[in-house]
């Protein structure tokens, strides 16, 4: 039926803990953790390997919330939106509470996606495979409307930064005709594939912060005004009261984005955050340390875990780079994933479900209880913490493509870019969102046009696409309304 024993739980726990460490270090990802441990699975049978690999996967996705909340540096690309509300909470002295809320939401997101994986794998896979380039393009545009929602009171600058990010993403080779564009002659070798996401991300968030702190003499307190001594709000599960619909909606968005093959995972938490803002009763609170925002981001990025397994197990298509490595694990054991996988290997299917369940709970316990210790990081003085951050960022940036020094230069370059953005009041998150989604936006735009001989009407020709158009319009109208309201009150 399925396999579980002490060995299974032990390797799952090891996987989860190592995964959390990888997730928590900016530049190290769940994908990297899986790639490192994949060779180890030669020694075990598939069931034990699955516990280890799924542990790494769940841990790696979840660990990103720790630096996102405590030091405003997203540990993984999908925890960008966690910084929006998590860090302001930590600054209010509620770091521990924010971490606990984040971890609990992660657990809910993970369990939700597990339920979806269990019940809906076959029908959902059938639906997602019907999505053409048009729907995928529109979903990316929909995710990008969060830029407008994020930059209220300063919308033109936010959108400008977003498109600047898209432009940066386009640097490098265009896959359709293999032509290099927007690259200076002397960097043609280094930039042949464009800038890597992780050095850009870490540079913008971590290194630019180092420069800002250096400018301010390393004196800024991460916790404002001695709030630690006073009574701060403690976490209780009641914090999540009233967030039930938010959790379900965000987990569902995360899971569904995971199911869509080829749409990057980071889009999930961005889209979920945008929707939470649209549906929120107090949208002006989001971005200032609202529980809602944190819950939405974390439940969505853990929703990915189960979602990305749906196309992997039902169609043999990986939903993201991490699950692509999981395919490797199956291949090592001589097992073919695809439409017949579940009927031919019911015991492995059950083990996957159980392992995912176990790993989600292990992740929760491994992070929830030692949190007091973890949150002490905020007490380390800046002048001691930042050199270590620089070291970790350099290691992460260098290792992401297995040893490219240009990635470390990219890290520094985008650190300077991020610092200058602060000076000319261009917001960084929209820029990064544009950068993350830019390549997909172009790919699906061109693919859709190619399929229609260049007629733009193709974007209005599909029923699901038209539903997404309505959602895009509503999202933009709401953002404009919200922007006006903020501008008036300011």
């Amino acid at each position: 039926m399925f396999e579980i024993g002490i060995l299974h739980i032990a390797v799952a726990l090891m996987g989860v803990v190592v995964g959390i460490v990888f997730g928590a270090i900016p530049g190290m990802t769940a994908t990297m953790a899986l790639a490192i441990f994949l060779p180890l699975t030669y020694a075990y049978d598939l069931h034990v390997s699955l516990y280890l690999l799924l542990g790494l996967y769940v841990g790696g996705i979840s660990g990103g919330l720790i630096p996102a909340i405590l030091i405003n540096i997203p540990g993984t690309p999908s925890s960008i939106t966690t910084t929006f509300d998590g860090y302001p909470m930590a600054r209010r002295g509620e770091g521990e509470r924010a971490l606990r809320i984040g971890i609990t939401s992660s657990l809910f997101g993970g369990l939700f996606s597990l339920a979806v994986l269990w019940f809906f794998t076959p029908p959902l896979a059938r639906m997602a495979i019907k999505f053409s380039a048009v729907e995928k393009f529109l979903i990316i545009v929909f995710a990008m409307t969060v830029i407008a929602a994020l930059s209220k009171g300063n919308m033109s600058r936010g959108i400008f930064a977003g498109f600047l990010g898209v432009m940066t993403a386009l640097v490098g080779t265009f896959n359709d005709n293999n032509m290099i564009r927007l690259v200076p002659e002397f960097l043609r070798v280094e930039l042949i594939y464009g800038f890597s996401l992780l050095p850009v991300l870490i540079g913008l968030f971590a290194i630019s912060q180092v420069f800002e702190e250096a400018e301010a003499c390393m004196l800024t307190n991460r916790v404002s005004g001695g709030l630690l001594d006073k009574k701060v709000k403690k976490f209780s599960f009641k914090d999540l009261k009233g967030n039930f619909i938010n959790i379900v909606r965000s987990s569902a968005i995360g899971t569904f984005m995971g199911i869509l093959p080829g749409v990057g995972g980071s889009a999930a938490s961005i889209l979920a955050y945008a929707q939470t803002k649209n549906f929120s009763k107090k949208p002006e609170e989001l971005g200032k340390g609202a529980v809602e925002g944190l819950v939405s981001s974390e439940s969505a990025n853990n929703g990915l875990t189960g979602g990305a397994l749906v196309p992997l197990l039902s169609l043999g298509i990986p939903g993201d780079s991490t699950t692509a490595i999981l395919i490797g694990a199956f291949m090592l054991q001589g097992i073919q994933v695809g439409p017949l996988f579940i009927t031919q290997n019911p015991d492995i299917w059950n083990t996957i479900l159980l392992a995912l369940l176990v790993c989600n709970f292990l992740m929760f316990f491994a992070m929830f209880f030692p949190i007091k210790l973890i949150s002490k990081i905020i007490m380390v003085p800046n002048c001691r913490l930042y050199p270590i951050i620089i070291l970790m960022c350099v290691v992460g940036a260098y290792a992401i493509n297995s040893g490219v020094m240009f990635d470390v230069w990219t890290l520094l370059l985008f650190g300077i870019v991020g610092y200058l953005f602060g000076k000319i009041r261009l917001p960084i998150p929209p820029y990064l969102i544009g950068f993350i989604l830019g390549r997909d936006l172009e790919k699906y735009f061109i693919d859709a046009l190619k399929g229609s001989n260049g007629y733009l009407s193709v974007f209005f020709s599909r029923p699901i696409g038209n539903v997404v158009w309505v959602l895009i319009a509503l999202s933009i109208i709401y953002a404009i309304y919200d922007n006006r309201k903020t501008a008036k009150t300011a």
């Binding site: 990297m32 490192i36 033109s156 600058r157 959108i159 400008f160 498109f163 600047l164 898209v166 432009m167 386009l170 265009f174 359709d176 005709n177 032509m179 290099i180 564009r181 927007l182 290194i207 180092v210 420069f211 250096a214 400018e215 301010a216 003499c217 390393m218 003085p381 800046n382 002048c383 001691r384 930042y386 050199p387 270590i388 620089i390 070291l391 970790m392 350099v394 290691v395 260098y398 290792a399 297995s402 040893g403 020094m405 470390v408 230069w409 520094l412 650190g415 300077i416 000076k423 936006l441 172009e442 735009f445 061109i446 046009l449 190619k450 001989n453 260049g454 007629y455 733009l456 009407s457």
Partner: protein, 132 residues
């Protein structure tokens, strides 16, 4: 009329199609921002002089960070991860925490020896990750 809503995709130039669209959008947005800024300036006049750096900014730390970072990358290219990191961790620590008290220097030295060693052992040796 239908041609108005048609984009011809030529294979050899298709790599510049989307960048051109984005550049167009950026140009429009840039003009909008400039007009908005000019309007704002008219409204509040130039009574407050804006400075690029924050008031009383720390020149040594800011430009020192930049120079050390560049030096760190070159050092890693010339030597290897461990010696470069130990030396530059020490320099970063001295720059940020100061070199006026003995205690502070000792703390800097301990951090700059142990952190790179730990990272090197854990990631370079145990996990076999490529380090500079």
């Amino acid at each position: 009329m239908a041609d108005l809503f048609k984009i011809n995709i030529t294979y050899s130039t298709s790599h510049m199609l989307f960048p051109k669209i984005v550049m167009g959008i950026l140009a429009v947005l840039a003009i909008t921002i400039v007009i908005q800024e000019l309007k704002k300036k008219k409204e509040c006049k130039a009574d407050e002089k804006k400075c690029f750096f924050i008031e009383g900014f720390d020149k040594v730390k800011l430009f020192g960070s930049l120079i050390l970072f560049v030096g760190y990358i070159f050092a890693m290219e010339w030597t290897s991860f461990l010696p470069a990191s130990i030396v530059f961790m020490m320099l970063f620590n001295l720059l940020y925490a100061g070199w006026h008290s003995k205690k502070s220097i000792i703390v800097s030295a301990v951090i700059s020896v142990f952190t790179p060693l730990l990272v090197w052992y854990l990631f370079g040796i145990v996990f076999n990750i490529t380090l500079p």
